[in-house]
């Protein structure tokens, strides 16, 4: 009973934090009407106060606004990358599972090849081929994160394919395409959607990591990784707030999203806990 209630509390806190994140990202920029890029050298590196709740950075920009804008960019990039990765993974897994035979073997060797390279390194390699921008980061994260979804979907399709209801559909005249679209895909979609949501925080971390390394988003764009990267100098000088607040803005929303997705996963599939990665 008490385990159950702690879980409920965790889910409620996660839901509240996700809601707060989404509201902040949607409402703060139009409501505040301040320029997050506005430089004010007279008020640079102020510690947190009532007028600047998170303090200001080394160019006198309000950190709270910068963090909200950064969160907006990071969330968008994370969601787009997670969605793309899931679509690629589902398509490849479904094709491999549904076709079987040589196509299956070839696609699974492709998955093995991709997973034999550390995915952060591969991601860095991919972004390094383009000029810094939003799209290279999305492509890089998407191309390195479809593997586990592909494996899960393939396994699911393989087990579904042997069910008598697929035989019955074939016997009723259904084409290969119809079997895939009508019977196989709807059965794997909940799993794929869950994988996509679990991927969002992971993709946000990757975006931050790439931006922190200076390879991701262009430096003028306030993303959380860029904010932390820009704050390194002030941290050494004793100013903790330009690092702490963007850091919290990465950690808290990603944990909240992961907490919600984890609860969802337990609901649709109580036994399978460790197969999907965070």
């Amino acid at each position: 009973m008490s385990r159950r209630s702690t879980r409920t509390v965790r889910v409620r806190i996660s839901a509240a934090l996700v809601a707060a994140t989404v509201l902040a990202v949607l409402l703060v920029p139009p409501l505040v009407q301040l320029d997050q890029q506005a430089v004010d050298l007279s008020s640079k590196l102020l510690s947190p106060s009532w007028s600047h709740p998170f303090g200001t950075d080394d160019l006198g920009r309000d950190l709270f606004l910068r963090c909200v804008y950064g969160l907006r960019v990071s969330l968008l990039v994370g969601a787009a990358a997670a969605l793309t990765a899931t679509v690629i993974g589902t398509a490849i897994g479904a094709i491999a599972g549904a076709l079987g035979g040589r196509a299956d073997r070839a696609l699974m060797r492709l998955v093995d090849t991709f997973s034999s390279v550390p995915h952060l390194l591969l991601g860095i390699f991919i972004v390094a081929m383009f000029r810094p921008g939003v799209w290279p980061v999305i492509v890089s994260v998407a191309l390195t994160h479809w593997l586990s979804t592909a494996r899960i979907v393939r396994a699911e399709v393989l087990s579904l394919r042997a069910r008598p209801y697929i035989d019955a559909a074939i016997s009723g005249g259904a084409s290969r395409w119809r079997v895939a679209v009508r019977h196989l895909l709807p059965a794997v979609l909940p799993q794929a959607a869950l994988a996509a949501v679990l991927m969002v925080p992971h993709a946000m971390w990757h975006e931050s990591a790439l931006s922190f390394l200076g390879l991701g988003l262009p430096t003028h764009l306030a993303s959380l990784g860029n904010l932390i990267q820009g704050a390194r100098g002030s941290l050494l000088a004793g100013q903790w707030w330009p690092t702490l607040f963007p850091g919290l803005f990465i950690i808290v929303p990603t944990l909240a999203i992961a907490g919600l997705a984890g609860a969802w996963r337990e609901r649709i599939n109580p036994r399978r806990r460790s197969e999907l990665m965070l």
Binding site: P164, G172, S175
Partner: protein, 223 residues
């Protein structure tokens, strides 16, 4: 004629489950295939329904040899055979309402406009009431679901019916109702039937002739 000639089939070429079996069903005839569980009779039924490619042997469907199997088989050949499996739970897509489950073959073959009429006609003949048709598989009993699976198999008016242990999971009254529905369909259309099962009494009363699995395999070995 539905003719299985010297069929060898299985899931591993080195150890086939069905060895060199010959069996034929004439139009309008009902043949019962009797055998213990695990002997390979379901595999033979899957071969006869074009759902499993045999390792050797030929299947003649009204004189034409079948060359392609599963989705590759011509639609007309596949739909000439209606199949009912043993486990209704596994033979029904859990997301479809019973109406859609029954109507699936008409939709798959692009004859959507006939759906309403055919389902309304078939549901009472297999003993399904209208309120059951709106439910999903988990909301009905095994017997009710198997009735829907039978309706689905009859939907495209197949010339052959293959019932693979159709009643093994069901109670006596449902069994009687399903067998009656099959026989009613056969007397109206003259379809042939291959009923696979292990219940000698049932198959003996249901079918024109019954063949036992041992006899089928041993005579073939002797020839």
């Amino acid at each position: 004629m539905l003719e299985l000639q010297a069929i060898t089939a299985g899931y591993d070429r080195k150890a086939p489950v069905v060895r060199d079996v010959t069996l034929s069903v004439a139009p309008g005839e009902s043949v019962g295939l009797l055998g213990p569980s695990g002997c390979g009779k379901s595999t033979l039924a899957r071969v006869a329904a074009l759902l499993h490619r045999p390792d050797a042997g030929t299947l003649l469907l009204d004189g034409d040899p079948v060359r392609r199997w599963r989705h590759r088989a011509p639609c007309a050949q596949r739909t000439a055979i209606g199949v009912v499996f043993q486990q209704p739970r596994l033979s029904a897509d859990p997301r479809l309402r019973l109406t859609d489950l029954i109507a699936e073959p008409l939709r798959a073959t692009g004859r959507r406009d006939e759906v309403r009429e055919r389902v309304a006609e078939l549901a009472p003949s297999v003993g399904l009431t209208p309120d059951l048709l709106d439910r999903r598989p988990h909301e009905v009993s095994d017997g009710q679901l198997q009735r829907a699976c039978l309706a689905r198999a009859l939907l495209l008016r197949p010339r052959w019916l293959i019932c693979d242990e159709m009643t093994a999971m069901l109670d006596a009254s449902t069994t009687a109702a399903l067998v009656a529905a099959v026989e009613e369909y056969r007397s109206a259309t003259g379809a042939g039937l291959l009923a696979v099962g292990h219940d000698q009494v049932l198959l003996g009363r249901w079918c024109d002739r019954t063949v036992s699995w041992e006899k089928l395999t041993s005579t073939e070995a002797g020839e």
